[in-house]
Structure formats: C-alpha cells, structure tokens
C-alpha cells in the first residue's frame, strides 16, 4: 500500500518573484515603480551631467568655467583653503587642519561605547578641546599666536560646536535636576526659564547674547562676542537637552530611586550612580539627534557676523573673479555638513536599533 506523503516542496520565493512582489505586484504598483524610476533616473542623469560630464575641473580654469554649461569645480580647487580655514594665516593653516582632525577624532571616538562613562567621556572632550584650542591659538614652541578674530571656516564651526557641547551638557544636567527638584519654587522657576528659552528661536537668542548683552551687563562681565554667542547657544542647547534628560529620568521605574533610598544612599550618590546613568541610556538616541541638530544650526552664527564655514564659503565665491560659481561652493559646503551630519545620524539610528534589541 502506498503511503500518502504530504507534498513538502514548499513554494520558495524566487528572487524574481520577490522582486515582482516589491515592484510590480499590482498595475498601480507597477505604474508607481515606473514613474519613480523615471524620476530617479532623470535626477541621477541631470546630476551626473551637471557635476561630471559638463563640469570643469582643475585649478584656476575661470575662462573654461564661464564657457561651460556644467559645474565649475575649479572654484573649489582654487578656493578650498578659504572655505576650510577662513582668514587663518596661510603658513599656519596646517595647524587649523590638524585641529579639525583632532576634533573629528574626538567626535568619532565618542561613538565607541568604551568611552561612555562619567570619567572618560568628559576627559576625552576636554583634552580634545584643549588640544584644539592650543593648536589654533599657538603661542608656544615658537608657534605664532593667532587670535580668535582670525579663526574661520570649518575650524571655527567645530570650535563653536565643541564649546557648546562641553558647556551645554553639564548645564543641561543641572537644569534637568533643578527642574525635578522637590523644592517647588526652584522647580517652577527652572520650568519657566526652560520653557521660555525653548519657545524662542535660536537666532534671537544668539542675537540677544551677541548684540544686546553688552548693553545690559556691566563692562567686566561681557567678554568677547564669540564667547557670548557660545554661552547663549550653550544655554539654548542646555534647555533642549535638559528636557531630553528629564524624559530619560521619567522613563525610569520609580523603584530604582526608591531602592537606592532604601539602601541609604544620599542625593548625589542616587543621582550619580543610579538615576543619571540609566537616564542617559534611555535618552541616548534623542541626545545624538540633538547633537546633530546643534552641529547643523551652528551655521546660524553666519548671520550674527562670524566667519564660519558657511560665511567663508560665501566669501570664497564673493570675489568678482568667482561670483558666478556660488552654487558649486554651496554644494561643496553642503557636502562638508552632509558627511558629518549623515554619519552621525546613521550612527544614532544604528544605536537606536541596537538598544532596542537589548531591551526586548
């Protein structure tokens, strides 16, 4: 007697059928695919045509650029030093470049989990920042002094960004703790301050600190314009970051703090060893997001009159020689920002997935 064997050759999706399911499952889907593919190909082709086929490469090809239809990359190869280093003295620009590399390394190293600890991370940033500052400023080992007025370009952007993070992060922790204080007047006042600053545009805060503050503060308190803007931006950053940290603290089960209290730990031990480490883990993805936004919005200092990478980009094409090639310079500056911001935000997304996996 023949036994009935169940038919086990399951229908395994072939690569072709999965392709079909993804792109051409229904007529509508197929039409969408075709339209999108046309748009994508057209965009790709126009970009390629503009940026490569009809573009002019090589230094100092101004005449060729004026005649060409495509991009004029010649402006970038002729003027990249201005974009990256601004008004920094020509012979000393290697210092500015090295300082940028140091800062880039600090940012890259902070992505390694080994550094995520209350001692290593601040140490890394403070050392990196000090190295950056000393390199840029000089005045030792025979390096000539270059004052902040002559800094510019990418290094100024990185300087402002790093200073805002270093100042803003401790401030944010303070703000978050003060806002959660059990003393009602402190908590309420802090909430008012945070909410007010959060509802104002960053530009108006920077403007207030840069231009209005010398007017309302006694002379000995004002300091340099650059540092005032940094303080203002750090305050703004701290108010946003404080809310992120507070959210991280609120996501903790109440039992954590109660258990610490039951063990007889004092306030600072509870906060330092129990609450904040876990809160930061909860708040890691939005924190990275906030840092990314902070880096992007550093470009606003251009409007207040600083010579950051944006402003130096405009200056690079601002001369009569290259004023027709402004789009190419903008694309170049956009690429610089894109490399930083895209890699950081990808890393944030990766971290979010990884932390999410750990939680399940």
């Amino acid at each position: 007697m023949q036994e009935l064997v169940p038919h086990t050759t399951a229908i395994r999706p072939s690569p072709f059928s999965s392709l079909r399911a993804r792109y051409f499952s229904t007529p509508l889907n197929g039409a969408v695919t075709l339209v999108c593919a046309t748009v994508a190909l057209w965009l790709l082709w126009s970009a390629f045509d503009w940026a490569v086929l009809h573009a002019v490469f090589g230094t100092g090809q101004r005449e060729a650029c004026l005649a060409a239809e495509g991009a004029c990359w010649s402006v970038v190869s002729s003027r990249w030093r201005i974009v990256l280093f601004g008004l920094y003295p020509f012979e000393e620009q290697w210092r500015s470049g090295l300082a940028c590399l140091v800062m880039g390394a600090v940012i890259a190293l902070s992505c390694a989990p080994w550094f995520w600890n209350a001692r290593r991370l601040p140490l890394l940033w403070v050392t990196g920042f000090a190295t950056f500052y000393l390199l840029m400023r000089g005045g030792f080992f025979g390096l000539p002094v270059v004052t902040e007025q002559n800094w510019g370009g990418l290094s100024l952007t990185l300087f402002i960004f790093a200073a805002v993070c270093i100042l803003g992060m401790p401030l944010a922790i303070c703000f978050a703790l003060l806002r959660r204080s059990k003393l009602p007047w402190i908590a309420r006042t802090m909430a008012l301050v945070i909410d007010t600053i959060r509802s104002l545009p960053l530009l108006s805060i920077m403007f207030t600190f840069a231009i209005v503050l010398p007017f309302v503060l006694p002379g000995w308190l004002t300091g340099d314009k650059l540092y005032r803007v940094i303080v203002g931006y750090a305050l703004f950053f701290a108010c946003y970051q404080a809310e992120i940290i507070r959210g991280g603290i609120q996501a903790l089960p109440a039992g954590q703090e109660e258990a610490a209290m039951a063990l007889g730990l004092g306030y600072w031990h509870r906060v330092g060893y129990i609450v904040l480490p876990q809160a930061f883990k909860n708040a890691l993805p939005p924190t990275i997001n906030q840092v990314v936004i902070t880096f992007k919005e550093t470009s606003l200092v251009t409007i207040i009159g600083f010579f950051d990478v944006m402003a130096s980009g405009r200056a690079a094409s601002g001369t009569a020689e290259w004023n027709f090639a402004v789009i190419e310079i903008y694309v170049f500056v956009a690429l610089i920002f894109f490399v930083f911001v895209f890699s950081l935000s990808r890393y944030g997304a990766y971290l979010e997935r990884r932390l999410d996996v750990g939680r399940r």
Partner: protein, 388 residues
C-alpha cells in the same frame, strides 16, 4: 553649626530663596545697567518710541506702510510677514512631508528609495545653506525681458515669480480666508461633537451645508471687495523690462517658502513614517480580513491611526518650524525678527524691543500649540477600549 541649619524646612527655604533671588538679582542688574546706558546715550526707556516714525522702508508688506509709519506698524508688518510665511510654508511642508512619508512606507522599492534620498539629502544639510542655495538659484533665473509666459500665466524671472491673481482688496482676501477657516472649524466640530441625538445622515448634511455656506460667503466677500474699473482676473503681461499685472512673488519670499517647506517636509516625512509603522499590524490585517482594498486599508485605517499617533510630535515640529522662519533675515526677508533687529539698530530701544520679540514669539508659539492641541483633542479616539 548654628541650630537653624539643622531644620530641613529652613534649609529648603533658604535654598529656594537664594535660587530665585539670584535670578531676580541678575534681571535687576540687567535693567539697571540698561537704564544707565540708555541715559548715557540720551534715550529714555519705555514704549513711547512705538509712536515715532521709523524712516526706513520695508520691501514686502501686507498692509499699507511707508517711511512715515510708526514703529508699532513696522513691527506689525513684520509679525504679519512671519505669519504669512508660516501659513504658506507649514501646510506645504505637511503636504510634501506626508507624501514622502507615505512613499517611504508604501512597500514599493522604487518609491521608498526616492523618499529615502529626499529625506537624507534635505535633513542633513543646514536650513540656512538650503535657503541660500535656493535664493541663488532663484536670482540666477533670466531677467524678465528674456522670459516668456509659461502655461497658466506664470512667469519665472530673476526679479520674482509672477502668477495670475485677482484684482481684489487685501482685506476681502483676508475675510474670505477667515470664512473658509471658520467653515472648516465648524465642520470639524460637527464631526467630533458626535451629536448623539442626530442621525449620521443629518450630521453629514449639516457638514455639507457648512462647507457650501462658507465657500459661498468667501466668494461673495471676494466679489464685493474687487477693485473697481479693473478686470477681475489679473494676468501678468510683459512690458518693457518688467512684468505688470498679476502677483509678484519676490525671490526672498519664494526662497524662504521653498527651503522651509522642503526642510520641514524631510522632518515631517520621518515623523509620518514612524507613525505609520507604529500602527499595529493587526489593524491592517483585520481590514484585510474584512475584505477591504489596500487603498481603503491605507486611507481608512492606517493613515487616520497614524495621524493620531504622530499629532503630539507634529505640534512640536510646527512650533519648531515656525521658529525657523526667522532665518529669512539671511536674505533680507522682512520678517518679525528682521524688523526687530532693524528697529534696535535705528532706535536704540534694545530692552523694549527684545521684550516685544520674546513676547511675540511666546504668544505666537503658544497659540500654534494651543490650536493644534485643540485639534488633537478633537480628532483623538474616544473611549477607553481603543488602544493603538
């Protein structure tokens, strides 16, 4: 140690007094110093300067303004321009953002790719750079002499974009928009109030009647407000070196609108995508089990649920986008911030003007959040059994 330091209540009270006192002291010092500085410059504090004539021009204004207008009017022009920019850019950003967000969750590989590229490109470049980029592109359009009218009566030129318009007064346009908004709010209220006693057909009829009434009233308002002795429709006409008739959209406004809508759309697309992904699979599967088409599953189940999930995040995003409109100062778009900063330069009344700026933004942002929160309450799912 003195005995009073042992009392917890005493210590707490001292800490609070010290904290609040320090802040008050800081503000006090600021005010006193500012007073002193003002007197040194021969200016007087207070808001009296608002009645003085400004003496400077504003390139783009929705209301009548000239150099002899007082400061308060200049500030009003700025506020209106900011609101105008927001009122155009925020809905555009939403429209584009929802489209891209839906593309990214459509399941179609090609559409997802396009959406992802859009989001990654425009989210990772600073808004200021995008603004300058679009402004440079708009300015590099050919001069009006060398352009022709595109179909639909639109002309793209380096001096602005010309579109057909109606020859009506600004006030009547404002009233017409208000009427349409009122009709929308009424319809939404009718829908959400769930008039228990009324049958659904009657409610639907009432909503339809509201819309009809609102649009008719709006059209009537436009008709009454038309400028005499001109054709109702005004189409751009090339004349000499420029265009006349039609509405000119300045490159500044256009660049602001384009960059803020695209930048905002990239963020909104991410919010919408996460919202659509957050709708439990069971909801869509239940729809499929009931035999609904995939379009109905999307439009009647997934999108409405997703909108309710993302609404709180969106409210923050709108407030944030509205704050971002201040960036217009980079290309001299006369918004609220720019008027304030020019006024500070011209009049020297720094503290008062900064106060107006802060107060204005607080009021506008809280109003946006308030209106959207009401909307959120209105569309929220009622009942306790619904979990999404």
């Amino acid at each position: 140690m003195p005995a009073f330091l042992n009392s917890r209540a005493m210590r707490d009270g001292a800490a609070q007094t010290a904290f609040v006192g320090a802040l008050v002291l800081l503000v006090g010092i600021a005010i006193v110093t500012a007073r002193a500085n003002l007197e040194a410059q021969g200016l007087s504090a207070g808001f009296g300067f608002l009645e003085r004539a400004t003496g400077w021009r504003i390139s783009f204004s929705l209301i009548d303004y000239d150099t002899s207008s007082p400061y308060w009017k200049a500030i009003l022009v700025g506020v209106l321009n900011s609101l105008f920019l927001g009122a155009i850019a925020l809905p555009l950003a939403t429209l584009l953002g929802v489209t891209v967000g839906v593309m990214r969750t459509s399941g179609n590989g090609m559409a997802e790719l396009l959406g992802t590229v859009f989001v990654e490109v425009f989210r990772n470049v600073p808004l200021l750079l995008q603004l300058l980029f679009w402004y440079a592109i708009l300015l590099s359009l050919p001069s009006p002499r060398d352009t022709g009218l595109l179909p639909g009566g639109i002309a793209l030129s380096g001096r602005g974009i010309y579109v057909p318009g109606l020859n009506v007064t600004g006030g009547s346009v404002f009233i017409a928009i208000l009427l349409v908004l009122a009709a929308a709010a009424m319809a939404l209220w009718l829908k959400s109030a769930r008039l228990v006693s009324a049958p659904p057909r009657a409610v639907r009829r009432a909503i339809r009647a509201t819309w009809a009434l609102g649009t008719t009233a709006a059209v009537a308002a436009l008709w009454i407000g038309r400028i005499p002795e001109t054709a109702l429709l005004s189409i751009p006409v090339q004349q000499g070196l420029n265009y006349r008739e039609g509405i000119r959209i300045s490159p500044e406004l256009m660049a602001c609108v384009i960059s803020i809508s695209i930048y905002g759309a990239a963020y909104i697309a991410e919010i919408v995508r996460s919202g659509i992904n957050a709708v439990p699979k069971g909801q869509a599967e239940a729809g499929r089990a009931l035999g609904l088409s995939s379009w109905h599953i999307f439009s009647r189940i997934r999108l409405p649920l997703a909108i309710r999930i993302v609404m709180p995040t969106m409210i923050n995003q709108y407030v944030w986008l509205f704050k971002a409109t201040t960036i217009g100062i980079a290309i001299s778009f006369t918004d609220f911030f720019m008027v304030i900063s020019t006024s500070i330069n011209q009049s020297g009344q720094t503290l008062e003007l900064i106060g107006i700026l802060m107060g204005g933004f607080l009021i506008i942002n809280y109003s946006i959040a308030w209106v959207l929160n009401r909307l959120n309450d209105a569309i929220a799912l009622k009942g306790t059994q619904l979990r999404i």
